[in-house]
Every structure is written in structure tokens, then in C-alpha cells.
């Protein structure tokens, strides 16, 4: 699968595909000035994945501590794409990872979960202090 390697900045997340584990990871904060432009390579990568005939099982780990409203729209767009892929039989899973004390991010995860149908979407609370 294609490479995807975007380093984080103060206001954009790290986005990486790890080929060894077939995991796409989005980690950090997301409030770019031009959200559509920032996420364009990610959406293109996902389109390639969705359209590829081979049946590689991938996990998408989303671990964002803050995202603005336009990022929320892009995330919905991504989950809709994956939902459609799952409907067609692609093996894909989303892990929505949040700090166990962060109710806001947990609630966002729950709302995304309400809006998808076929995709495996797991809400995963992470123990605080476990990470750093």
C-alpha cells in the first residue's frame, strides 16, 4: 500500500500508515486553517485503499485530543467512506481512542458511532499517565 507520512504541527495531527501492522494512525490536534487542503492526501490515500482489489485488513486509530468543526466534517467524510467500504466487504476497523477522563472526545466518538452502519467502530478509553 502507498506510503502516508505526515508529521504533526501545533495545529495538525501526525498521520501515518504503518505497513507492518496495516494501521493508519491519526494522532494529536486538528484545527488547520484550510482543513480540506490538509486532509486531501489522506482522503486520496483512503480512496486508493477502498478501490484496491486486494483484501488487506486495516485498522484506523484516531487519537485526537482536540479538533475543530471543519475537521469534524472531514472525519465524518472519512468514516462514511470506510462505512461504504465495510458494506462492500472490506475488512476495516476504526479505533476511537480517548483519555478516560476526556468526556468531550468520548462523546464525539459516540456521535460518530451513531452515524455509521457497517463499520466496526470501537471506543477505547485510555488510562491517563499510561502514555507519556
Amino acid at each position: 500500500m502507498e506510503q502516508l507520512n505526515i508529521e504533526s504541527t501545533k495545529f495538525t495531527p501526525e498521520i501515518k500508515f504503518h505497513p507492518d501492522s496495516n494501521t493508519l494512525e491519526l494522532k494529536g490536534r486538528s484545527y488547520p486553517e484550510n482543513t480540506a487542503e490538509f486532509y486531501e492526501p489522506v482522503l486520496m490515500w483512503l480512496e486508493d485503499y477502498v478501490e484496491a482489489p486486494d483484501d488487506v485488513e486495516i485498522s484506523v486509530n484516531v487519537e485526537l485530543t482536540y479538533f475543530n468543526s471543519s475537521s469534524s466534517k472531514v472525519l465524518m467524510n472519512i468514516f462514511d467512506m470506510l462505512d461504504e467500504a465495510a458494506k462492500k466487504g472490506k475488512k476495516v476497523m476504526v479505533n476511537w481512542i480517548f483519555d478516560e477522563e476526556d468526556e468531550t472526545i468520548m462523546e464525539y466518538g459516540e456521535e460518530f458511532l451513531e452515524d455509521i452502519e457497517y463499520l466496526a467502530f470501537n471506543l477505547i478509553a485510555k488510562d491517563d499517565g499510561d502514555d507519556q
Partner: protein
């Protein structure tokens, strides 16, 4: 001027405003202002969720100003000239600055974010209707509306997702307050206050 600066500062304090910026607003400025705001609120022992909510309101408003303020610097014509023969649209987007006001304050036990910018008169009606509609919605209606808007296919003409004000209304503890002041034939001043 130098003798009245203190009056200006005192006027801000009287309104409960503890952070303010008026002028060209950039993404970098907003990021740093947001970081300092968070630090200040943490020092005041504000709850984690109010810090995040206030921060999020500043981000949404600052990005609205950056994308939609009708007051830009340099003005488009000047900028096209400065760009020479290069793609004027692309050039303007990267070079221009948007002007507006961002303030954050505290009154009667609540934090508030009060922001403003110039908008084109022809956009006033649409925005007024949108905000009035949000004012009349309860939390559950706001949630449903937010989710319905989010499911819409991305609008190529909108620089954001069209979700900013709905997000603000959902995070606010009272309905969003707003005002439009007609300045001249072309422009009005739009103000919005979100109480968290």
C-alpha cells in the same frame, strides 16, 4: 492618545474582558493566543471542560474571521498588482490578512467569547436567519441539526465545514447572541457573543 490608553484598558476590564485582540488575525496568532488563554484559565483553576470549550470557541471564531471577514489587508486590487502576472487568486489567498476582533471575558460566573468582523451587506440576511434558527433550538435539536449538516457532502465553495456556529451553539450555556451594525453601502459589522 498616550494619556487615554489606561481608560481603554479600564473599559475592557469593566466589560469583564481579560484577553483581547483587534487587527489582522492569522492562524499562528490564534494558535498562540489559544495557548496563552488555556494557561491563564488553568491558573485560575477553571475546569478542564470550560478551558476546552472556551478554547474551541476562540478557534471557531478566529477561523470564521480568517475565512469570512470582509475586511482584508492588503485589499484585493493592491494585492493582484503586487503579484504581477502570477495566479491572482492563489496569491491573494496566501498573502492576505483578515481583520477582526476577538475578546474573552468573565462575567456573572460565566466565561464568554465576544468576536466581530466586517461582512458584506448581502450576506447579512442569510447569516441572521441561520443564527436566529439556532437561537430557537434546544440541545437535542442542535445535535440533530449538527449531525445532519455534517453528513452533507463537503461544499466546495465553503472554506470551513459550515458547522462552526452549530458547534458554538451546542457548547454554549445560553443561546448565541449576535448583532449586525450597518456601516456603509457595502459593509456591516457583525458581532457574536457566546456564553460558555
Amino acid at each position: 492618545m498616550v494619556q487615554t490608553l489606561y481608560d481603554f484598558k479600564r473599559d475592557l476590564s469593566k466589560r469583564g474582558i481579560f484577553l483581547s485582540f483587534s487587527g489582522p488575525i492569522s492562524q499562528d496568532l490564534m494558535v498562540e493566543m489559544g495557548a496563552t488563554l488555556k494557561q491563564k484559565m488553568k491558573l485560575e483553576d477553571a475546569s478542564k471542560s470550560s478551558v476546552l470549550r472556551v478554547f474551541a470557541m476562540v478557534v471557531e471564531n478566529a477561523q470564521n474571521i480568517i475565512h469570512y471577514s470582509a475586511e482584508k489587508y492588503p485589499r484585493k486590487k493592491q494585492n493582484e498588482k503586487a503579484c504581477g502576472g502570477e495566479d491572482p487568486v492563489k496569491c491573494c489567498e496566501s498573502e492576505e490578512l483578515s481583520l477582526g476582533i476577538i475578546t474573552v471575558g468573565y462575567e456573572e460566573g460565566y466565561y464568554f467569547v465576544l468576536c466581530g468582523n466586517m461582512i458584506e451587506n448581502e450576506k447579512v440576511k442569510g447569516l441572521k436567519e441561520k443564527l436566529s434558527k439556532l437561537q430557537g433550538m434546544n440541545k437535542d435539536e442542535l445535535k440533530q441539526f449538527y449531525k445532519a449538516q455534517r453528513k452533507q457532502k463537503p461544499d466546495k465553495t465553503s472554506k470551513g465545514g459550515g458547522l462552526g456556529f452549530i458547534e458554538m451553539a451546542r457548547k454554549a450555556s445560553r443561546p448565541i447572541e449576535f448583532d449586525f451594525k450597518k456601516i456603509d453601502e457595502d459593509l456591516s459589522f457583525f458581532s457574536v457573543k457566546i456564553i460558555i
